[in-house]
C-alpha cells in the first residue's frame, strides 16, 4: 500500500492552505489588505503630493478686508502671485467660518483706521487670521514674508525721504539656495509610504501561522499528527510554506493594486518616480519572496515558542510592529541610503523599491543582501521550530 507519493511537506502545506482559505478571518484580512490598504496609502500619498506641490506661492488665496486702504500692498501681493479675494466686511465668527472652508490660507483684516495711521506715519494696525490646523503653514509664512517685505519697502522709502539711506535697514543681505528641488522634502516621507506596502506581509499569513502551530497544540491535534510516520521537520516545513505562500500571494496582489494606483498618481511632480513596468514589478515581487519566507518562518517559530495560543498572538503582534521601526526611524534620522540597509528585512525591500521605481541603478550587493539575509534568518527560524516540534514537552504540553 505504501507508494512513492507527494512529499509530506506538500501534503501538510496543501491541507493548511485549504483550511486557511475556508477561514473567513484569513480571507477577510487578505481582501482588506490587498485592496483597501493600497487604496488608503494611495489616498494619503495623493494628499501628501497635493500639499507638496502647494508649497510655492502659486495658488495662495488670501482674503483681504478693507484692502482699498492699501492699494500698493494689494498690488504687491498680486505681483507675488497671491490671489487676493475681497470677502466684504466680516465679523469674527464669519472669519472663522471662512477659514473652516479652507479655500483661503488666511484672512488679512486692515483696521478701519489703517489709512489714517499710515498717513500719520504711525504703525498701521492690521490682523492676519489663520487656522494652524489646516496644514497650510508654508503658504501663511509666505504671506507674512510678503507683508514684511512690503513694510521694509515702506520704511525704506520713508527713510530716504528724510535723507537716510534705506541700506541702514539692511545690515545683512541674505541669499537662500534650496538644493532640495521641487518636492524632495516630501519624498522621504513618501519613501516611508512605499515601505508600508511591505508591512502587510506580516499580516497575510499571521492567522494561519498561529492557528496551525499554537492552535493545533492547544486543540491537542498535534499529538495525533506527531504519532504519524512523519518527521517533525516535514510538518514544520509544510506549515511554514503555507503561511509564506499566503504572504507571497497577498503581497503580489497588493503590489499589483498599488502599481495601478501609483501609476495614476503624479509622483514625478514632487521628485519621486514610479516608472515601473510590469516586468520590473515582477522582479520586485520576486525579490520580496525571501521576505515572505522569513516572515512565515518567524511567525511559526514565535508561535511555537509560546506556551499558549494567546501568548502566540501577543508575540506575533510584536513581530508585526518591529518592521515598522526602521521604516519610521530612517526618515526621522534623515539617513541617506547605506549598504547596511539592504541587510535589514523590509527596509531593504523598501529601499530597493524606491530605487527601482526611480530607475536608479542597483549593484549586485543590494540584490544579494535583500534575498540572502531573509533566507538565512528563515532557515534559522525553521530549524528552531523543527527542534521544538521534536520535543515531547512541546507536543504533549508537559
Amino acid at each position: 500500500m505504501r507508494v512513492k507519493n507527494l512529499p509530506l511537506w506538500i501534503v501538510v502545506m496543501t491541507k493548511e492552505f485549504t483550511e486557511a482559505l475556508r477561514d473567513k478571518r484569513t480571507l477577510g484580512m487578505l481582501l482588506m489588505l490587498t485592496l483597501v490598504y493600497p487604496a488608503v496609502i494611495g489616498l494619503i500619498l495623493h494628499n501628501m503630493i497635493d500639499r507638496g506641490t502647494r508649497t510655492g506661492k502659486a495658488g495662495i488665496a488670501l482674503a483681504v478686508i478693507g484692502g482699498a486702504q492699501a492699494p500698493t500692498l494689494l498690488a504687491q501681493l498680486r505681483e507675488k502671485s497671491v490671489k487676493v479675494v475681497d470677502p466684504g466686511p466680516l465679523d469674527e465668527a464669519d472669519i472663522q467660518a471662512l477659514l473652516r472652508e479652507k479655500k483661503v490660507v488666511g484672512v488679512l483684516r486692515l483696521d478701519p483706521e489703517f489709512g489714517h495711521y499710515y498717513a500719520e506715519v504711525r504703525p498701521a494696525p492690521l490682523a492676519l487670521w489663520f487656522d494652524s490646523s489646516a496644514g497650510s503653514r508654508e503658504q501663511r509664512l509666505e504671506v507674512e514674508s510678503i507683508l514684511r517685505d512690503y513694510a521694509n519697502g515702506v520704511a525704506g522709502a520713508r527713510l530716504e525721504a528724510h535723507g537716510v539711506s534705506p541700506a541702514v535697514l539692511s545690515p545683512l543681505r541674505l541669499e537662500r539656495y534650496d538644493t532640495a528641488g521641487g518636492g524632495a522634502g516630501s519624498s522621504g516621507r513618501i519613501g516611508t509610504m512605499l515601505g508600508m506596502f511591505f508591512v502587510p506581509v506580516f499580516l497575510f499569513g499571521l492567522s494561519m501561522a498561529i492557528d496551525s502551530t499554537a492552535g493545533e497544540r492547544e486543540r491537542r491535534s498535534l499529538e495525533v499528527l506527531m504519532a504519524q510516520p512523519m518527521r517533525a521537520r516535514e510538518l514544520v516545513v509544510g506549515k511554514w510554506l503555507a503561511a509564506s505562500a499566503l504572504a507571497a500571494i497577498g503581497l503580489a496582489l497588493e503590489l499589483s493594486v498599488a502599481h495601478a494606483i501609483l501609476s495614476a498618481l503624479p509622483l514625478e511632480e514632487i521628485g519621486l518616480s514610479w516608472r515601473l513596468g510590469l516586468p520590473m514589478l515582477a522582479v520586485v515581487i520576486a525579490a520580496a519572496l525571501p521576505l515572505c519566507l522569513f516572515v512565515g518562518a518567524l511567525q511559526v517559530a514565535m508561535a511555537m515558542n509560546s506556551k499558549t495560543f494567546k501568548e502566540a498572538q501577543a508575540s506575533a503582534t510584536l513581530v508585526t510592529v518591529l518592521p515598522m521601526v526602521p521604516l519610521l526611524a530612517i526618515p526621522m534620522l534623515d539617513l541617506s541610503t547605506q549598504p547596511w540597509m539592504y541587510a535589514v528585512p523590509v527596509l531593504s525591500n523598501q529601499t530597493m523599491l524606491q530605487s527601482v521605481a526611480s530607475h536608479q541603478a542597483l549593484g549586485a550587493l543590494p540584490w544579494v543582501l535583500t534575498c540572502a539575509v531573509p533566507l538565512l534568518l528563515a532557515w534559522a527560524a525553521v530549524a528552531f521550530a523543527a527542534r521544538r516540534m521534536r520535543s515531547e514537552q512541546y507536543v504533549m504540553g508537559i
Partner: protein, 244 residues
Amino acid sequence: MIEVTNIHKRFGAVQALAGVGFAAADGKATALLGPNGAGKTTLMRTLVGLLARDRGTVSIDGIDPAVDPLGARRNIGLLTDQFGLYERLSTREYLRYFGRINGMDQAAIVRRTGEVTELLGLEDILDRPCRGFSQGQRIKVALARTLLHRPRNLLLDEPTRGLDVMSTRALRRALAALRAEGCCIILATHVMQEVTQLCDDVIVIAKGQTVAQGSPQELCRQTGIASLEDAFVHLVGTEEGIAA
C-alpha cells in the same frame, strides 16, 4: 507483535511508569486495565515514540520506536483521548490527509475510505465539515483515521466511549475481524464486558507497574474470584478502577 520490558518514565517528581513489561501477540486482542493515573496513556504514547522512555526496551514488530520512530509508526494505529479533527475539513478530506501522511495512494485512500465508512456508519457525515460533530461522531471519525491505513498494530485508548450501541457493536465486530486477520490489538478500557467479549489477554497495571498478565480466565483463577471486575479490583488493590 508488541514486546515491552521494564520501561520507566518520569515527569519531574512523578514516576509515571515504573517497570511495565508485557508481550501482546499478533492475532490477539489484549486489554490494558488499570485505574485512572495508572500510566495507560503514557504507556501508549511511549510505544508510539511520542514520549521517550527513561529505560527499558520496546519492540514493535522488531522495531524500537526510540531508534526508528517512523518505522514503528508505519505499523501502528493510535487512538488516544485526543481525536485531532479539523473543523474546516470534511470527514473525507480528513481521512485523505491522514491517508497521504501514511503513504497511501489515491486509489487506496478511496477504497479504504469506503470500507471504514461502511464499517463505522459514517455515510451521513462523510462530506460534512467536522465542526459541530457530536462526541460519538468525533470518535467514529478518529477511529476511521486509525484504521484507514490497515496498521498491523492497534493501540486504542477507550475506543467505545461516547459511541451508541449500534456503533459500539460495529466497532467490536471490526476489531474481531482485524484480530482474525492477524492484527495485534491493545485496548485500554474500563468496560469489563468489552474485555470478556473481545480480549484474549489482559494486562493489569497500577502505579506504573505491571501487576498481572493473562487471559481473563487466568486472572480469575489467579485471584480465586469468579468475576473479572472483582478480580481486577483485587489486583490493583483499590475501588478506583470501577469508579472510573
